[in-house]
Symmetry: C2
Subunit: 337 residues, 2 copies
């Protein structure tokens, strides 16, 4: 790369001090408009971008938040990140996102990479990960928030909801309609505390009703429509097929709808299908999915405010737990007679 223009170059061109340049860039409301414009013009003319190292030294911050999410596929995390980013943007903070593909080792690498780029804080999804990742974050005193989960100990900032209780709502509703033969296609529970909690919620609620959920009626699979089609085909071909299929999320539920359609059967007449998340896909499919509405946008916005608050004050805020709603749509009906 060529020599990067420095803050001194900008100051010279704009005919102001470097302190003024810094102020114009970091606290634009604290300088006059003409000064701000002059600095802005010099910045653009020179192609200046604030130097990471210098900025970090000056303010102790990089004004960057990192997020490591499991995947960008299927828009599962997209809406929360969108809201997170919109809030951060209004605060002048940049969001950088990396993905782990649900792989704990890769997640750890991404955390280290973001830390070495000097992020001020981190967003992680869920709670299950190697202790050394938490030790790294605590040791470096980097503020971080866990989304989509409720951290049990009160020792961490979590911004999420009770996955187990949410899944239980779906079961309760199906029981009230008279369903007794349940199946569940869960997400891969290894390293995924959200998927695990949803299975636990389903099984506990069924147990209260004197029912069990065991293989082959309980299967784990990835959050992928086509892979789920195969799993669902096997379920509806069982000698005693389930009358309702719970899914780890809406993506899997869309796969079940497809498998039922391909088998010449009908939802919910022959089998009911339940999703989780209420992403846009839930109403794009036909019939629309009965599902759990996850507070995507509220989690995103709240994460921005709490994490930035922590960074500014040095005080870890209290965790936040949101309620979830069951959204009843056409994919749930009574069991076949």
């Amino acid at each position: 790369m060529k020599r990067q223009p420095t803050i001194q170059d900008v100051a010279t061109l704009a005919n102001v001090s470097t302190a003024t340049v810094s102020r114009a860039l970091n606290s634009p409301d604290r300088v006059r408009e003409t000064t701000r414009d002059a600095v802005q013009q010099a910045v653009q003319a020179l192609g200046y971008t604030p130097d990471f190292g210098g900025q970090a030294l000056a303010s102790g911050r990089t004004n960057t938040i990192g997020a490591v999410i499991p995947t960008m596929d299927n828009a599962i995390f997209a809406r929360a990140l969108q809201s997170l980013q919109e809030e951060l943007t209004t605060m002048g903070v940049t969001l950088l996102v990396a993905t782990s593909q649900y792989d704990p080792e890769r997640e750890e690498q991404q955390v280290r990479a973001l830390l070495s780029r000097g992020v001020d804080g981190l967003i992680l999804i869920g709670q299950a990960r190697a202790a050394r990742v938490y030790e790294l974050l605590e040791g470096r005193a980097v503020p971080y928030a866990l989304l989509w989960t409720t951290a049990p100990s009160g020792q961490q900032l979590s911004i999420g909801f009770d996955n187990s209780a949410a899944a239980a709502k779906l079961v309760t509703q199906a029981l009230q309609l008279g369903h007794r033969r349940f199946a569940m296609i869960a997400g891969i529970t290894k390293g995924n505390d959200r998927a695990r909690a949803r299975v636990d919620g389903v099984r506990a609620t069924l147990a209260d009703a004197g029912l069990t959920l065991e293989p082959p009626y309980l299967v784990e699979g990835s959050y992928d429509i086509e892979q789920t089609v195969g799993i669902a085909r096997a379920l509806i071909s069982l000698p005693e097929p389930p009358t309702v299929i719970l899914c780890g999320n809406d993506v899997q539920a869309a796969g079940v709808l497809k498998a039922v359609r391909q088998a010449g059967l009908s939802v919910p007449r022959d089998v009911s299908v339940l999703g989780f998340d209420d992403i846009e896909l839930a109403t794009a499919v036909d019939p629309a999915l009965t599902t759990i509405r996850v507070p995507h946008r509220r989690m995103g916005r709240m994460a921005a405010h709490l994490l930035i608050g922590w960074i500014k004050t040095g005080q870890r805020p209290d965790s936040v737990q949101f309620d979830t709603d069951l959204i009843w749509r056409a994919s749930l009906g009574p069991p076949p007679a």
Copy 2:
């Protein structure tokens, strides 16, 4: 933050030189396994993350690629990014992603933010953006690749496909089935050269057949299912409704399917619906969408290889243009009699 552990701390704990630590981290195949393990243990024990500044000075690189994409919603860019990241991971390079919400100013901010974090190269979507962004990149000699597009001049590295020719394929197919009354719900074309090119391809092909496409049969809208439902409702309520509706992408096409369903009409019996992208949604909906298969994964993989090659050699590689396929599924049929 507390004092960050240094490479010297790691070297001391692992009982090796700092040069060895650096080699173990950057070229693990060049050190013995026992040394590598010792360094790795020290890294984890100390919570060491390579210091951005030091690493950049040492090798001139940060081993980070930045990408600015319009949105994480709807998985439009997810599959390409996934492949891009998988390839980069095998090369030991981290991908950081920021989103612009289709806003040119925000895109520019994100580019500057990524540059100031010291990325080695950048991935951008499409070609339409302020000249000063390109001047900034050229001035700083930062390798960058434009995806989803074909840069016209040969002055830039583009890895994409011909959006106009792809859209034309859909029209040609519909014309051959006997369709004469076309409508198109396009993406917002302002600042989006891909959306613009698709409209151009459609209109040019229609013109060759002696047909025109003007409002109210040509409408722009955002890539959002619910907003598209409203637009589609108006189209199918026209005194002379279209017999086929082309869409800017599959997300919009899913919205059209929904509107047609809500109106008590049937696809493709009453109206055919055409998508673009072939994301997973295209086969999750019923009927499945006839659409253009965009080479998501090939673009992602190719971008990783060409951009890293450029960074390593300093030579800008030639642009790559992929073919696109029309995928014929149930949403396209002959016009109503």
